[in-house]
Subunit: 325 residues, 2 copies
Amino acid sequence: MQSIENYKAVFEQYLSQGHFTQEPQRLYEPVNYILRLGGKRLRPLLALMSYHVFADDFRKALPVAMAVELFHNFSLIHDDIMDEAPLRRGNPTVHSHFGLNAGILSGDVMLIYAQQYLLDAGDPTLSARLLKSFNRCAIQVCEGQQWDVDFERMNTVSIPQYLHMIEYKTAVLLACSLEMGAMTAGASDSDLHHLYEFGRKLGIAFQLQDDILDSFGDAGKFGKKAGGDIVQNKKTFLILKALELANATDKATLLRLMSTPTSNEQTKIHEVTTILRELKVPILAKEERNDYHRQAIEHLDQVSAPGDRKLALYQLAAFLLDRDI
Amino acid sequence: MQSIENYKAVFEQYLSQGHFTQEPQRLYEPVNYILRLGGKRLRPLLALMSYHVFADDFRKALPVAMAVELFHNFSLIHDDIMDEAPLRRGNPTVHSHFGLNAGILSGDVMLIYAQQYLLDAGDPTLSARLLKSFNRCAIQVCEGQQWDVDFERMNTVSIPQYLHMIEYKTAVLLACSLEMGAMTAGASDSDLHHLYEFGRKLGIAFQLQDDILDSFGDAGKFGKKAGGDIVQNKKTFLILKALELANATDKATLLRLMSTPTSNEQTKIHEVTTILRELKVPILAKEERNDYHRQAIEHLDQVSAPGDRKLALYQLAAFLLDRDI
């Protein structure tokens, strides 16, 4: 078994081999810029590890790993435009740095290259299977992003609606990365199913974890200021759960806080988190997260390979959910 | 042989069969909106006709026709955002009507669906060949758009650079539509080559024709006001040719007209077209256009099929270049 860092080093090395050096420079410079901003490389790691469950030379999954990283970064660039986000991983977002047009067009070309890497990942039969999985996922990611935008202006969003949105926006790409890695190694349909479900459940748990950390995380360990979702009036799992459980007075207070401009952010964060705590929302959210995490692990258990071949995936799953709260 | 109108009717009928009726509505409404704006459906027609050169049931090329129409409309939506264009085919552009975010995201999903239609167009071997042709083309279209954006702020653009830009931005998608239609019908590599080159040369001729019509077209017959390119200081073939041929005085006048704000558009159009006429630029541009058109037809001549099977393509090529000047 390789360590998480080792898989990451292999991917970083592959990525550094000058993939986008061609002209026109203004098209490919933003592509290289965002790829160089780094990040966890979670999706490529999942693809490489998933391949490695079934076959030794996991470098054969590098084109698949590249495809999912390109797609992920394409979606970040376009989402950052839609969210008017100035920063990404502590650096200016692509559209802030290079302009709106560069953000749109460089994102587009990354989406096309993601497809191209899958087309080059194997023989036509494998490529067609990979692309079928990928396109379904890519369409769902767009749909998830649209639901997220839609929720901003909807008065009521149910928890099932929210879970469906984060499944599409976040979880299915983790699932697809695992599925495509295993597909490239020739895994059985049953194993593909369990790896897909492992990724899907893990992705939902991961997003719930993000929701919890954003409102109740330790700023020092989490690495960004707590309360951002609350300040932006985001309808996270925490807020939706609170609205479900609150009595009329608390519900009215929450809705008022979420719909009026705030002069003092810290006061608003304090008032909202106090209500969330009173309603035991952090505990309920952790239970929900743990439930998805447990289901994820159960699917990984059922993948028909010796435990030591799955160890890297177990470790990565633990690592993802093990951030301090 | 079918008439141009008949191919178009078959495609329109296919298009009307409710392809994007799913949720979320706000994602797919803009897709249906732009597809319903109509247009010549040139790229689908080329795919259907090209299939029909080699095999009878040209309806089998409908998924390919759909893919190229989706890709074309994706690129229109994103280009209209970059150009800040308010109108498209006499109607509000997608981003004007539905907002920037809808323009970006609905464009993205159309690009993914274009790939999906190609994946569904045949067996894995055919799909992989189609997608290889398509991805190369799609990347070139993005690169062409970037060159077009770059040219706006470059002081000097050469005519070969300009021809390379319009080849990528416009011509390769016509070439790819023809190639993929013929590929679906099982055409030989030699015939694929000649159809591709027919489309590529025809596309360049078509864009040169557009440049000529924009400055010297009969507004009544052409359907839009003449002189738009001149008002926007676009570096078209006409302007680049004039800058190449002009003496120092005319060149200085042209550069001044293109770099200073204009109070009177009609005067500017008159001054620029007068210089172009004096330099015989309209005649030279028509010669260039005719040269590409002739080369296109020579490639179509070399496609190994009886003349009557190619008649629709000859007619379409004539129709495209036969607009009044």
